[in-house]
Symmetry: none
């Protein structure tokens, strides 16, 4: 089946809300091996919605709509689809009953227009809404399936997983399996160059590169029969990619850099302390997003002022005077200092210029030093990041976590 998702609602076209329903549905359909070729968003406008239905029915055989099932005048999804398919709406008594009870339970009085939500073509399979008053519906006509779902995600999602997924799984005999390889330290185009031949010859699995925030991901996707094991197809290609990219492949699926670092710290039984200047606490924030990190992450110091670097970390005033707060030497003393003052096995320190002010010709905005200390010794690397203040902080934090990851791999 190939699918088009049509979201109905002017609030989407005004940018008041983002179309998370399309993502949720697409994600679930891809797990079922059902292709989605188009998303469409149209306002609460009968003619334009009718137009969208004509186009969709010409290019998709599964059409899923979200929104426009409510009681108000501008909720016109069912009415328009019924017209489009030449069907009549009649009162669906079980739904009407459910709506009456819904209001009774809440001691609210039922207004006439609420029963509008119980009107369906008699050809429709009505989907109960356990979290609101607007039921959904499935209509099969002319070899096409039309599924109408409510707009609020907390109503749509349970309806989708309880009723729509079983209905669709029934019709499909295939499944899709994806594995995402997460890569840091190589640009998207360099990754592509390295695996060009694999990309050109890709069939099973398909390989989709995606770049975001200094990372690259490769999504390996296999579509196979229910009873086959998709990993049989994925494994050989994954192994070949890992052979070529080496350590740059840091994780799979939803493993973030901080999760991988946390795992490595736990495996190696090492403790960490972090001294942050330009990243301002972001590294600590990312690490502490990982449940259970408290066993290995002892402490962080956001040493923003020079005084703090000197007092907290024992950076020498002369070092800051002669080399500056943003320097290889200061980074080194920060990293060594945080290990010595906290007793952690490893110290990570960053100092740099996040901007927009504070840059000079010799030390431009984006200049960052990252140091990792162990046993009184520290390695320091220099980086030049671009973008605005937030972006530079973000790049700094990710780069620092990746350096730490590579260090831990070799311990």
């Amino acid at each position: 089946m190939n699918t088009e998702i049509i979201a109905v609602g002017s609030e989407l076209l005004l940018g008041q809300i983002v179309n998370t329903n399309a993502q949720y549905i697409s994600n679930n359909l891809s797990d079922l091996g059902i292709n989605v070729y188009y998303h469409t968003v149209v306002g609460d406008n009968r003619n334009r919605f009718m137009e969208a239905l004509k186009i969709a029915s010409g290019r998709a055989d599964l059409i899923i709509t979200t929104g426009g099932l409510g009681p108000t005048m501008d909720d016109l999804t069912k009415e328009t689809i019924a017209d489009f398919l030449g069907l009549k709406l009649t009162l669906h008594e079980p739904s009407a009953q459910a709506i009456r009870e819904f209001f009774k339970k809440r001691g609210r009085t039922l207004t006439e227009n609420n029963l509008k939500q119980a009107m369906f073509p008699k050809e429709a399979v009505v989907l109960p809404n356990n979290y609101g008053t607007a039921p959904g519906a499935i209509i099969e006509k002319d070899n096409r399936v039309y599924i109408m779902l409510p707009g609020p995600p907390f109503e749509l999602q349970p309806m989708f997983s309880n009723y729509v997924i079983p209905y669709l799984a029934e019709r499909e005999n295939q499944k899709i399996f994806s594995r995402v390889l997460r890569i840091y330290g190589i640009g998207e185009s360099a990754v592509e160059e390295t695996i060009k031949d694999l990309l050109i010859n890709q069939t099973m699995p398909t390989i989709a590169p995606l770049a975001s925030y200094g990372e690259v991901t490769l999504r390996l996707t296999v579509k196979c029969d229910r009873e086959q094991d998709p990993l049989e197809f994925i494994k050989p290609v994954e192994d070949e990619i890992r052979r070529r990219l080496g350590d740059a492949v840091y994780g799979i699926d939803s493993e973030s850099l901080e999760i991988v670092v946390a795992k490595l710290l736990e495996e190696k039984g090492l403790t960490l302390a972090v001294a942050e200047s330009c990243s301002g606490g972001l590294i600590g924030d990312m690490l502490t997003d990982v449940p259970g990190i408290s066993k290995n992450f002892l402490e962080g110091a956001i040493t923003y002022s020079n005084e703090a670097k000197i007092k907290r970390l024992g950076v020498k005033p002369e070092t800051i005077e002669s080399h500056g707060a943003v320097s290889r030497e200061t980074a080194r003393e920060m990293a060594v200092g945080i290990t010595e003052t906290t007793g952690a096995d490893i110290g990570l320190a960053v100092t740099g210029i996040a901007g927009p002010g504070g840059g000079t010709v010799q030390k431009p905005v984006g200049l960052v030093y990252i140091a990792i200390a162990m046993n009184g010794e520290a390695d320091v690397d220099e980086f030049r990041f671009s973008g605005d203040r937030k972006r530079i902080k973000h790049s700094t934090a990710k780069q620092a976590l990746d350096l730490l990851r590579r260090k831990l791999l070799n311990i």
Copy 2:
């Protein structure tokens, strides 16, 4: 002008990412008084994208595409649009130069396919990309405007506000002006109750409430002629809302809590130090997103372990033993401790249980204490937040910043 936004990218149809670009663009266009009638999402597929272009050019006169401008083989937005409009791509030397410098600056080697990003029809107005390698473009043809923007939001957003908005504003004769009032500490329904009459009688300006992450915003929007002053319409309504909601209105437009706190610290000439346990550095991260904060934000301590609380902040071991690390007393000693050890005028401290583990019946996940210290005295408040670990950290940080804001207002 009526607009269609076409997002190009299979990752959207697979549900890997959500189409936030469409929201961002729609939101900005509505501020310009430009209608958006359709959003379309299509995969990295030449034929289906061509199909989408045909349909869009039949129903819109402004067509904005996002994504598909990158260096890889499946980036085909420019190529397809050029074909569709019967235009040829040639190397745009300034862009090629910018890309070469971008790589030089990072010490990365330029691969051939990167220059693909500098290919444009000579009819195009090329839009520089200050945060990535893929420039955008504007092409006017047959009374239609085609605007191509990169996919990554951090590249698209500055390009849109720096180049596209001025270009579009030039063409429009009306203007829309919005002011967003930002509210913290009152729920959405309570806000609506308080200004019900204003919401019912709204005309000029219109008032749109929106709730997100514990905040409520009210968007006041006026559409008027170029030469009129929209504030004349906004001001009286804004004043009335402020009169009713008081201190809960903390800022306007893009003023975040951290920006407001930073301003207040500067106005009052006070210095701040922060001690974070459960928020793990998030408060420091938020504060240091504000340019120039270094004048007033001296230092942060991410005292995750008990040892750190004792050693860094001088929390008494007995206090942690008898009351626990998550307690009113520990929060108080953390706040007083961070002021005394840093010499800051104000100390902010948080300790709590972010979960998922570590909760008990007496001290459930989500229990958080926030303390603010001045002159050796500290006020402590108790909160019970819900949601997952990240959500609890986020609620903690925002609540802490709001308490600090209210404290500063009364100094």
